[in-house]
Amino acid sequence: MLENIALIKEVHHYKSIVSAEKEAKDYLSKINIENISNNRVIQCSNLEIFYVKLIRALMTDEDNIIIVLPFSITANLTDVKSFIDNIYMLNHKKILILELYTNKSKYEGILCNIVK
């Protein structure tokens, strides 16, 4: 997973492998999943794969990140609060979540702007 995340910085910013992987590991540590650093995709849960994809998106130069239907990406997502908290913890960019109106109740009590 570490190689997978670090690749973006290595290619776009010509960062050395060591420093790009350190940056990737820092992101994983922020949400306490550094244990998956050396795992392959098959060894990770859906949620861990989702976080890796999100971190990979954070490594790009794009200003905005759009997550479309997170509940469909991570099928067994139950604790939405910790999920959103982790996104806040990782985030230094504007993140937009596109969600179905029927899932509105799942976001109740969570600190985020909901726009209809």
Binding site: L7, V11, R56, T60
Partner: protein
């Protein structure tokens, strides 16, 4: 009926020309990336090191064994024929021309094509079918720089360096046979070879290694890229790629013989 036949020929011809144009355009683009220093990112260099390791280093034991067996037998046959036909005086140039100019690069190219060409073709096909190539494109990772260039460069380095190794093993075996057939001591043998070898032989070996290495990778890559979007298309892609690769290797060999004969 006749019109349809003519149309069929025209359509087939256009399709052949179109695929030739696309293949040459792809080769040209890869070459442009090859000479651009910006193509060489740390990630690309890491892939390159791994590719060289898998293409050139891990094959060394098997390659050396095959070079000793095949090289020795073939060089033995050449030396025995040379002595039968009274060509002992020209044995140095015969050995150099046969092993350095012709046999070593061609045999190495065949071996690398069989081992790494098929692997690269399958790898790119699987990545294409699994949409991994599209994911890399989404992240604006240049496929040529990250995936194709390391494989092409490793092909060139591997075929060239292994050709040199093969030629050295053949020439070493040649000493044993000259000792056996002609009672030739090592000093005479080595001075014969040193007298016979010319700069042109080294240039031929290197340029054939580069040309063979380049096609041994670029054709499987191109074939893998054009795989249809299903798993059953992967073996078809590998099959087509390998046929095209062997045709290309033979064309290069024939062209080099023609150039040398001029």
């Amino acid at each position: 009926m006749f019109l349809r036949f003519v149309e069929g020929i025209g359509s087939k011809t256009l399709s052949i020309f179109n695929s030739f144009y696309e293949a040459f355009y792809f080769t040209f683009i890869c070459f442009i990336h090859l000479i651009n220093p910006k193509s060489y990112s740390p990630a690309m260099l890491m892939v390159l090191v791994k590719q060289i390791y898998f293409t050139a280093v891990t094959i060394i034991p098997l390659f050396t064994m095959m070079a000793i067996i095949f090289g020795s037998i073939i060089i033995g046959v050449v030396i025995s024929l040379a002595s039968v036909y009274g060509l002992q005086d020209s044995i140095g140039s015969i050995l150099i021309t046969f092993s350095v100019d012709e046999f070593a690069p061609f045999f190495t190219a065949l071996l690398i094509s069989l081992r790494s060409g098929t692997a690269v073709n399958t790898e790119i096909s699987v990545m294409s079918v699994n949409n991994e190539l599209n994911t890399l494109k989404e992240y604006k990772i240049d496929l040529i720089n990250y995936l194709f260039l390391p494989r092409i460069i490793s092909g060139i380095i591997s075929v060239t360096s292994l050709s040199i190794l093969f030629a050295l093993i053949m020439l070493s075996s040649g000493y044993l046979f000259t000792l056996f057939y002609m009672n030739m001591d090592f000093h005479t043998y080595s001075s014969l070879l040193l007298t016979a070898i010319e700069l042109s032989d080294v240039i031929i070996l290197l340029s054939k290694g580069i040309a063979f290495g380049f096609v041994a990778m670029i054709i499987p890559i191109y074939s893998g890229l054009n795989t249809a979007n299903s798993y059953t298309a992967i073996p078809i892609s590998v099959l087509n790629g390998m046929v095209k690769l062997f045709i290309a290797l033979f064309i290069i060999e024939v062209l080099s013989l023609l150039i040398q004969s001029i």
